[in-house]
């Protein structure tokens, strides 16, 4: 089932065009990886999906992106509601410099999702358990989140993102600042999370894309060169550029 459907998406920063006519269909409850060399526009595309590009004054996005058949690029779309449905995890772990509990509770609080302290405790516990962090931090929920290790911080950020039960989670190179062990933990987690959420991950590591994703899109110079099942992209790509990138001839 299609979750996200992008049609002719063009993005430009001032006079420089970053994305050209992107058309892509993203499946529900699967992991979609976006790969490509630096500056190819994969992160830019990811940030279109929760309209994070709005923050940049000079950034202009045209085209249509349907999520649940609703065009999120439409002026009528409320970004606050949109971002409640579409969570995001960033390249560098960015927990708030507050306690672990407050980090998780922030989303549910601003969206008014819980009625009582008990309910909030439950949400915090559930989110941390889903992010496989509960056992490590259950005794120090009221210590600052920035005191955790890098991998734990990133899982905290994932727990924060899933605390509002988003339908889609966007991950922008979530493992690039982590060591291999922490990376393995996050990858395992992504596999778990796809049962409840649709995940789109931007990654520099082709091995990671091959490990975690069901579908892969290859971006190059602002164009989506090839999109298909991960198996096909890695074993039998149609496009010569994809072939070259996969085999490490450039990028």
């Amino acid at each position: 089932m299609k979750k996200i459907n992008a049609k002719n998406v063009n993005v430009s920063y001032g006079s420089k065009q970053a994305l050209f006519d992107i058309n892509i269909d993203i499946e529900q409850n699967e992991v979609t990886a976006l790969i490509g060399p630096s500056g190819c526009g994969k992160s830019t595309f990811l940030r279109c999906l929760n309209r994070m590009n709005d923050v940049i004054d000079i950034c202009k996005v045209t085209g249509e992106i349907f999520i649940n058949d609703f065009n999120i690029l439409d002026k009528k779309c409320d970004v606050v509601r949109l971002r409640e449905k579409i969570g995001m995890v960033f390249q560098k772990p960015n927990p708030f410099p507050k306690t672990i509990y407050e980090n998780i509770a922030y989303g549910p609080t601003i969206h008014g999702m819980t009625q009582s302290k008990e309910e909030m405790d439950e949400v915090v516990e559930l989110s941390l358990k889903k992010a496989a962090l509960w056992n490590e931090v259950k005794d120090r929920l009221h210590e600052v989140g920035t005191g955790l290790s890098g991998g734990q911080q990133q899982r905290l950020c994932i727990a924060r993102a899933i605390s509002v039960s988003p339908e889609v989670i966007l991950m922008d190179e979530p493992c690039s600042a982590l060591d291999p062990i922490a990376t393995a933990q996050i990858e395992e987690l992504i596999d778990e999370l796809k049962n409840e959420h649709t995940i789109i991950i931007v990654t520099h590591s082709m091995a990671q894309a091959a490990r975690v994703s069901q579908n892969t899109g290859f971006f190059h110079l602002g164009n989506l060169i090839e999109f298909g099942s991960t198996d096909k992209i890695f074993k039998n790509p149609e496009n010569q550029k994809t072939q070259d990138y996969i085999t490490g001839r450039f990028g």
């Binding site: 960015n94 927990p95 708030f96 410099p97 920035t146 993102a161």
Partner: protein, 421 residues
Amino acid sequence: MNRKEIFLKKRYNSEKRFKLYGKLAISFALIFLCIFLYKIFSTGFSAFQKTLIKVDVTYNSELLFLDENPSLDDIKNADYYDLALETMANLDLNADEDQQNELKRMVSYIFDTEIKNHLLKNPDLLGKTSSVLLTASDDLDQIFKGNYPRDIPEDLRRVSDYQLTVYDKLIKDEKIISKFNFSFFTRADSREAELAGIASAVVGSFFTILVCLFISFPVAVLAAIYLEEFAPKNKITDFIEVNINNLAAVPSIVFGLLGLGILLAVFHLPRSTSLVGGITLSLMTLPTIIIAARASLKAVPPSIREAALAMGASRMQTTMHHTVPLSMPGTLSGTIIGLAQALGETAPLILIGMVAFINTIPMSPMDPSASLPVQVYLWAESAERGFVEKVSACIMVLLGFLILMNLLAQIVRHKFETKWS
């Protein structure tokens, strides 16, 4: 030696020379600071000591024109001047009228009040004799502290030969004592150096800074938040930014003229009050706080804003829940530094009339008041020898407040600021 070695040696030498220049520059600055501090402390230190003359007062009811068994109110309302004159005349029983006058001038003009207060504290002394401490006149005070030469011809001195003989006799009888000068901190300004204090200036400065804080802080923080977080980046905001920086460079006396021309002339606010002083100074503090607040808002990593926005926080929530609290330590320390600058500012306050002679302690920002830097200026202008030490003492107090405030700014910054890895 080959060329390479000569080259290497040259490089090392130039580095050594450079270090030496640096050390010289620092010692130069330190020496000046030391001279400055030594001068102030050595001159001002004696102002914290007060010279008193111990005299025996016989609380004679007849001289006070009191009936038998007077009530406390009667004692309070009695006229002590005759008694006080009599007391001073008793220092030398052979003195003629002129000499009695000179005796009277050896103590401050509030000697009758001091005698009265002593009785009010112990009402049962009526009819008895008790020794009372009277504030010595500033000339005697200066002679006692050794600030005033006595081996010059009499007509060049402010203390007569006769007064000096009495003074020497009092010294011999151990009737002249020195105590910590509490009244320097509790009394307002006075024309008499021995009575002048900084209470009015301290309270006035406090009110001024308070008014300045209440006006400049909210305005500056709101302006900084708007410019940094919400305003579009275009020509108009660029123009505003340039002008805020210009405002910080405007000489303070110009702000004084502004206060004079607008606050006093147009709005008719009361002259020489802390209110007007505070408003004028807040114009000066405004750009300092705006610049500090913007810098600390900028120092909050964009990743925090992104994190909050991605959680579905609105721009307002992102700013109020995350960016502003995280920027507060920097903003506050900038504010304290701005206020410390305002505390030391003199020129604008002179223009709005705070240079007036105020001998009462202000009770509210609407009362006429002095301020510490202007008090320094006023006393420095004074010809009397007794004010010289007061100037330095007042500077010491002012420097003390400034050091305290700067220390506080440092503590706020280092203790509460979030460290970003």
